[in-house]
Assembly symmetry: D2
Homo-oligomer: 311 residues x 4
C-alpha cells in the first residue's frame, strides 16, 4: 500500500496547493476528504498516514473545526506546518462581465477576506456559502452562481476565467496549514521550532490563566497562538490551544510543560515541529538570560552536586 | 419615530426568542437584519437604537463575526446580555419520515451542536449550510432540502413539523446574546456585573499577555471569556476580547482598566452590564482580600493623609 | 527657643560630620544624644525639631537600632538623607608606635570595616567595644586602651595623633544618615526621590512577600533597601523596611502604596525625600513604559470617560 | 583525635546550653571560641568537625556576624538547627540589692531583650556592653559592674546570685543556633526540613527580587527567613540569605534552586536540614496543588513520553 496523505478537499483548493509545497507530498498519494473531520478520522483509523488541514488564518484566526478535532478524540500530533499567502481570484464563466454578476459564492472563511472588495465592486451581489472554494467554482461552472472567489489556480480546472486576481482585504493574508499524524517521536529540533499544546485549567479562579501563561513567561517562551475553545461543559468553560516557541526537547520548553502538567487539570501535547515563518537554517534562540539549554544543564548539575555535598 | 431594536434575523430564530425575553423589547419595534454586520451598522448610523446579536455559545465559543464587528469601526457598547438554552428540533414537511431524509440544512453554527445526533440517526444525509436556521426551515418548506435543524418555534411559521425535538450534542448548550448600542453611561452596577474590553498588546515579548492578565489577577478579578481575534496585521497578530467580573465603577475594575490602558497599545471599552448567569438581586462580590471598594477607598484615603503629613 | 537637631553623639563622630553637611544644620542648635533611641525620643516628645542618625552602611547593612525605632512607637518621618564616605584613622596617644598597641577600641559597627586591616597589621591586639568611635578616642586619651579607630577629625579634639589614616576594608565604604522628624507634608518631589515604608504581611503563605514586591515591580519601581526586622511575635516573624524609588506624589508610587495598604496587615509610611546618591538637579524618571505620571493621568482620564459614556 | 565541635564561647552561655541539647554533642569534645569567626575558621581549617553558632533570634533578627561568615569565604554547610527559648536572669554578687545597682552589662544582643525591663526597674543604671553574657557575669564577679544579664545557669559558675529570673521583653523570645560543617551530602529528608541559600541578583532592575522569590512562590515553597546582607560592593548592594521550606531532595525545592541558579549571578547552597520548630516525626508537606514529589515525577514522566511519541 502506498503511503497516503489525506487533505481537506476538494482538489484545486488552497489546501492542496499548500500541501504540494511539502517535499514529502511528492512521494505520497494525496487523497481529498470532504471535511477536516473526515480527513483526521482517516488518520485516526489508519486509512491515511497523515492529514493536511488548515489551522489558522490571518483573517479568521484559529480554524475552529481543526482545533476542536485536535482537542478531543484519539490523540493526534502535528508533524509539520506550511504558511501560504492567500489572494483570491474572482472566477466566472468565460465572457461574464462584472456588471452581470448577481450572485457570488465561496467557502464562508473566504467571506471576511473579500468583504471590502465586494462592498466596493459588487455591493448588490448576493452571497451564498459553498462547501469549499473549489466547490464554489464548480457551482459557477454548473451555472448555479455567477461568480466564485477561489485561488486563481482553480480557473483552469473548472473552465472558468479570472475576472480579477489578487483580491484580499488584508495585507499579508496568510493561512497556516498543518500535517497531522498519529503520535510519534517529534522531528529533531531545528533551532527554530514551535510546540503546540492544549490546556485545561484545574479550576476557575482569579489568576488561573495568568499562572498558566507564567509557566511560559518565566522561561522566556514567546506564545504565537492562544485560542480558547469551549470544553463542552457549558458556556464560559474553555480550554486553551497554545502555540509556543521552542521544541519539547529544549530544556526550557520541557520544564514549562512539566509545570503545566502539574497545575493543569489536563494537558494535551500536540507536537513540536519546525516553524514555517523562519528560513530553514536560521535559528531563533532563547533571548531571556538563564533559559538556554546550557544554563539549564549547568543549573541541574549544580543542584546534583549540592545534593551530593560536592560544592 | 418609535425606538427600534435591530436584531440578527430572519424572524423565527433563537435570536428573536432571546430578544423577546428582555422587558424593554416589548416597547420597541424589532427589526430583523440579514447579518450581524448590518444590524450593528444600523446602530452605528442611527437607524436603530440598539442591536441584538449572538456573541458566544457553549459549543462554538465566541461568535467571531460579532466580536470582529465590536473590535473595529465606530465604538459600540454592550448594554445587556441574555442567555438562552439551545436545543434543536428536526423540522420536515408534514409526513416526511426519518428514512426519507437525504439532505439536511441549518446555520453553520448549528452543525457542531447536532453533529453526533446526525452521525447516529442520519449518517448518510448530506449537510448544506443555510444563512440562518430560519432560512433553512424556509428552504425545507420550499422543497430544496428534506429537513432543517431549527428551534421548535420555527415549525409553525414555516408549515413544518418537528420530527424530533430536544436535539443537542452538548448538555447545557447555551447561547449568549448581547444588546449593543452607542457609547453611553453604563447601567448602574447591580452587584453582579461583567465588563467587556478588547486589548491590543504593546509589543510581542515573552510574558506580555501574562502581564495583561496580571492586571486582573492581582485585583482578584475573574475572567469569563478570553477570545483572541486577528488584528489584520498578519498571521500571529491577535487582540484579545475579554469579559471580566465586575463593573467599571468598581474600584478594582477601574484600577485594572487603568493599568491595562497604561501598558497596552490600545484598549477598547465595550461596556459594563448585569450578568445574565446570576439571579437578579444576588451579588457576586470580590473574594480576594483587599479588593473591595471599601478597602480601595481606605487605601486611597491613607495615601492622601500620608501625602499631607497627617499620619 | 532656638530650633534644635538631636544627633547620635558624642561630638566628633561621623554622624556629626555628616549632619554638618546639611545647610539647615548651620541654623540649628546641634545636640548630641547618647543613643539613637534617645535622639529619636527627643523628637517624639518635642525636645528637638528633628534627629540625625545613621540608618544604613555599606558594610553592616541596615542599622537595626534605627530601623527598630522607626518601625515601632509614635510615627516619625524621614525628611532628608546624607551619604558619607567612611574611612578610619587609627588614633593613638602621641608617640605610641604600632608595635606597642595591645588593645584597640571603637564602636562595634566599625569592627567589620577594619577587620582585615587589623588581621594584617595588629593580629594580636585585643578588641574591646566602645559606645561610640568618639568615646573610644576618649578612652584612649584616658589611657584605658592603646588605640581607637575613629574619624581623623577626632584626633584633635582628644589630643591624639593619627598613626594611620584611610583605613577601610571595603572600597566605597559609606554610611547613610537620615534626618528624622515628626509627620509632616513630605518635601516636594525633586525628580530623584526615595520613599521609605515598613510592611507587615497579612499572613504567611507561599508567595506573600513576592506579591508585596509585585506592587512595586509591576509599576517599574526599583527597590534600594529591603531589610527584614523581627516583629516581636516570635522567631520567623518579620516586617520589611523598604526604600523604593520615587516620591509619594508620583502616581506610580502612590498607587503602589495603595496596593500595599490593601493587601498588608499594616503599612507604615516613613517619608519621601531627595536621594543623596543623585546630583541635585539630575532626575531619575520611571523607565518602565506606562509608569510616568502623564500615562497614569491619561489612563485615569480614559476610565473616567468610559464611566461617563464619552468614548 | 576525638571529633570536636567548636562553639561560640565562653562556657556558660546560651550557646553552650543549646549545643548540649544535640545528642551528638555528648560524644564530641566541645571547644569554646572567642568569636563566631574563629569558630567557623576552626571548621574551615580542619581543627573542628563542626561549629555551633547563633544565627537568628526573635528580637534582633538574623545574626549578621554568622550570616556574613557563611556568605563569604570557603563554603560551609548547615547540618542542624536548634531553637532555644531565651530568658535572662539579673545576676549580682550575693547580697546586692536592686537599689544598689548602678551599672549593668551583657552582650549587646541582650540589650533589646531586656530594654523595657531596665526602663521599668533600673531606669538610671548605666549599660556597658560585654563580649558575651558569660563574660559580663565574670566582670560582675570581678566587681567591675554591679549586675549582668545572663542565663540563670551562669550564676553558679561565677559565684553570683539571680536577683530576678525570667526577664524577657518579648514573649516567645527564642534564639536559633546552627551546627555548621564542611560541605557534605545533606542529611536525609525527614518530611519537615528547611533549605538555606544565599542569592546574588544578576543585576538591579525593577522586579528582580520579586522574580527570585517567584521561583519559590510558584512551587508553593514558604520562606522562613529573608535577610539582606551587604555584598561589599558599596551601599545599596545586597545579597539575600533565605531559609525556605523543604529539602533539596524534594523535587519542588530542587527545581526552584535550579531556577535561581539560572537567573542569579550567584547562588550559594547552605544546606538542607531538619526543622527544629516541628516535632520529630511530624511532616510538613507541600500544600499547593501540583507541587508534591509524586506530581513532579508524573509530570516528568509525561514529558518523557511526549518526547518519545508515546502519548
Amino acid at each position: 500500500m502506498p503511503a497516503s496523505y489525506a487533505y481537506l478537499g476538494p482538489e484545486g483548493t488552497f489546501t492542496e496547493v499548500a500541501l504540494r509545497t511539502l517535499p514529502e507530498a511528492a512521494t505520497r498519494e494525496l487523497i481529498p476528504y470532504v471535511s477536516v473531520q473526515s480527513a483526521l478520522d482517516a488518520v485516526r483509523n489508519g486509512e491515511a498516514e497523515a492529514a493536511f488541514v488548515p489551522i489558522e488564518n490571518s483573517v479568521e484566526g484559529g480554524v475552529t473545526t481543526t482545533l476542536d478535532e485536535l482537542v478531543a478524540g484519539k490523540p493526534l500530533m502535528i508533524y509539520r506546518e506550511v504558511l501560504l499567502s492567500i489572494t483570491f481570484a474572482l472566477l466566472v464563466r468565460p465572457g461574464t462581465k462584472l456588471s452581470e454578476i448577481k450572485t457570488v459564492t465561496a467557502h464562508p472563511v473566504a467571506q471576511p477576506q473579500v468583504r471590502n472588495w465586494l462592498r466596493a465592486h459588487l455591493p448588490d451581489a448576493l452571497w451564498e456559502s459553498a462547501a469549499s472554494n473549489a466547490d464554489g467554482a464548480r457551482l459557477v461552472q454548473e451555472g448555479r452562481y455567477d461568480a466564485a472567489f477561489a485561488g486563481e489556480f482553480a480557473a483552469e480546472r473548472y473552465g472558468l476565467e479570472a475576472l480579477e486576481t489578487g483580491i484580499h482585504d488584508a495585507e499579508n493574508a496568510q493561512t497556516r496549514f498543518v500535517l497531522v499524524g498519529r503520535p510519534a517521536r517529534p522531528a529533531a529540533p531545528t533551532g527554530a521550532d514551535k510546540t503546540s499544546v492544549v490546556l485545561w485549567q484545574n479550576d476557575d479562579h482569579p489568576g488561573g490563566l495568568r499562572d498558566l501563561l507564567g509557566e511560559f513567561a518565566t522561561r522566556g517562551i514567546n506564545l504565537m497562538l492562544l485560542q480558547s475553545r469551549p470544553t463542552g461543559a457549558g458556556i464560559g468553560n474553555y480550554c486553551f490551544c497554545i502555540d509556543a516557541e521552542g521544541h519539547i526537547s529544549d530544556r526550557r520548553v520541557a520544564e514549562a510543560l512539566m509545570g503545566l502538567k502539574r497545575i493543569c487539570r489536563q494537558v494535551r501535547f500536540l507536537g513540536s515541529y519546525p516553524r514555517a515563518d523562519v528560513e530553514p537554517g536560521e535559528t531563533v534562540g532563547p533571548t531571556l538570560p538563564g533559559t538556554s539549554d546550557e544554563e539549564f544543564v549547568a543549573a541541574s548539575d549544580w543542584v546534583a552536586r549540592c545534593q551530593d555535598g560536592r560544592f
